[in-house]
Amino acid sequence: MAEAAADSSNSAVDGGGSNVQNDYPTIDPTSFDVVLCGTGLPESVLAAACAAVGKTVLHVDPSPFYGSLYSSIPLSSLTSFLSPEASPPTSSAAAAASDSRTVVDLHRRSVYSDVETSGTVPEPARRFTVDMVGPRVLYCADEAVDLLLRSGGSHHVEFKSVEGGSLLYWEGCLYPVPDSRQAIFKDTTLKLKEKNILFRFFKLVQAHIAAASASSDETGQGDASTKIPEEDLDLPFVEFLKKQGLPPKMRAVVLYAIAMVDYDQDGADPCDKLTTTREGIQTIALYSSSIGRFANAEGAFIYPMYGHAELPQAFCRCAAVKGALYVLRMPVVALLMDEEKKHFLGARLASGQDILCQQLIIDASYKIPTLDVPFDGSDSWKVVRGVCIISKSVKQGSSNVLVIFPPKSLEEQQVAAVRLLQLSSNLAVCPPGMFISYLSTPCTDVSAGKQSIKKAIDTLFSPQASDGSEGHFETTNESTEDVKPTLIWSCLYVQEITQGTSGSLLSCPMPDEYLDYRNVLGSTKKLFASIYPDEEFLPKKSAPVYADDASDSAE
């Protein structure tokens, strides 16, 4: 069978972690409230949310592993994941048009393009785990963490801090990002005047956040005098920062390294969407409430040990505990519709079995078989991602570090910020002595986006010596602190991004260009509300209750 061939090519990615099946199992029962195809984060959260409110759920994935577009895969499998063999044409529609249903073939689209690798794959390649969503972290105080806690998924993931904090690339040098008043106080690179300006700014923002949360909490009458006036909140954030007297470097710190803005805010092009003060302050509020949320977390960001694919797995486990049925290695080949082709009735599995359901949800790697209007891609945009294996940390003494290259910092043509996340072996994603760095920048022009990423790589890393000596032989006794990390291997690629769509068939959002999951989970929440408007999204009580002790939180 054609699909079986596609399946076994996927098992190469898995590295033979599962017994290859020659025949597909039969699923019983044959009718569910919800059928999901793909185990990316949005689908997995939806599965957990549906199961938590008592819906019957079937969750399938064509691959032998969890994660879909949100996978973490061995380095050795990355290129085959990025360029999957074209799926063979299926003809299930013609084969079996039953009386009252129409069968519509389901096709995948190519999500990745412009793959470029260089260097020698380091060994053992299987010990490097590559996120398809990188660079990405969680804020300690963000929605993803809350969902994990509410669903019970937090039992299945362990996190570590991005303990090295953030660095800003500015005028050819890397500076620590003063992201809190404490950090400003300790900073040794800022001038006194800069410290004062930043202090004042943080104080202002903190007072506003405190007043705003007080007024929303209870009486509705916080101390209005400490709030930032409404008209300022509607200003472009960059204008507000100028009004507060922040010099360019401090503006870059706040805009790109704390508020995590992507596009150039000083750009001459006024039709670019500018971040408002309100939006900027929202992120700063999240940032500052993340610092210190967990006793032993350093900084605002945490990263899931073993990679980001642990997150969908945690939610799938929660769904399974609530009764969802899981079938990996099971492609969906076609969708079933009613005679008028108005409603989706179910899915045809690779086994030939038809499963009926109230609601179908597919991951974004499938084309939505809309009937009249073909998918035109007008809604999509792109992100360039890079994965680098390097020999030492970009910041001495730190394991996990975030680096921000604001727009125009690398070259005049750089339209968007480039973010780089360096991860170490303490996250179990690579062997000791090595580091993985993820880079990304959103783009409309692929070659310009790639150019920015390459510039960032060239700036931080030195190429491997061409004689294969790995550049390790420093003959001089110069301090090795100044030696750039050696780039051992790299891969650049472009990922298309589409947003989730609701309707009779839900398509989930793709991994986006942001550093966190706020946007993805926001869309996911909306999708859930569109199918079950009266149900709560992962209510608190949905976490399973355990035997009387709380040993899992034992110190």
Binding site: G17, N19, Y66, S154, F159, S161, C318, G323, L328, S551
Partner: protein, 207 residues
């Protein structure tokens, strides 16, 4: 730190659907048995305090949550296990034959640092059924397989009658304790998001 790790022992139970994995857990932890079979719903893991040679441990026993039915347990499930319990039904030959697959699956997915010496325990369950008359896998055959895989401890149990369950789990716990943790250089400073008691600490000094 390391002590935390040593106090908490993660045990996972593998085996075909319907062999009694959940029942064994329930009998051991809650001394309860239900004749009503439903593919596992509602159990994530159960915990029980155990004392071994004057030391207290928390045994955390993980159920498959039904994800074993279509061999769809994710790699995350296997991580950090200190002991793997393989269960089959002595009345169903196929469930015995599949033990080898489950063992291999575990070794591949969990990739323990020393696979040769990783502690497994095998349980032949449901020996009470039909007074033993419907039995299709002999104790001898099971023991021979266990011996061939590096002398895996073997117990015949009845979750329904509570027979041998306590003894089996004591052996499981002892073996889990013996399992030397891998270089857990990274374990000490993981963030305990579940124990988040103190939210909204001020992020800066007030000066």
């Amino acid at each position: 730190m390391a002590t935390r790790r040593r106090m908490l022992l993660k045990v996972i139970i593998l085996g075909d659907s319907g062999v009694g994995k959940t029942s064994l857990m329930n009998q051991y932890v809650n001394n309860r048995f239900s004749n009503q079979y439903k593919a596992t719903i509602g159990a994530d893991f159960l915990t029980k305090e155990v004392q071994i040679d004057d030391r207290l441990f928390t045994l955390q026993i993980w159920d498959t949550a039904g994800q074993e039915r279509f061999q769809s347990l994710g790699v995350a499930f296997y991580r950090g296990a200190d002991c793997c319990v393989l269960v089959y039904d002595v009345n169903v030959s196929k469930s015995f034959e599949k033990l080898n697959n489950w063992r291999e699956e575990f070794l591949i997915q969990a990739s323990p640092s020393d696979p040769e010496n990783f502690p497994f325990v095998v349980l032949g369950n449901k020996i009470d059924v039909d007074g033993g008359n419907s039995r299709t896998v002999s104790e001898k055959k099971a023991k021979a397989w266990c011996a061939s895989k590096g002398n895996i401890p073997y117990f015949e149990t009845s979750a329904k009658e509570g027979f041998n369950v306590e003894a089996a789990f004591e052996c499981i716990a002892r073996n889990a304790v013996k399992n030397e943790p891998e270089e857990d250089m990274y374990l000490p400073d993981t963030i305990d998001v579940g124990g988040a008691g103190r939210q909204q600490r001020s992020s800066g000094c007030e000066c």
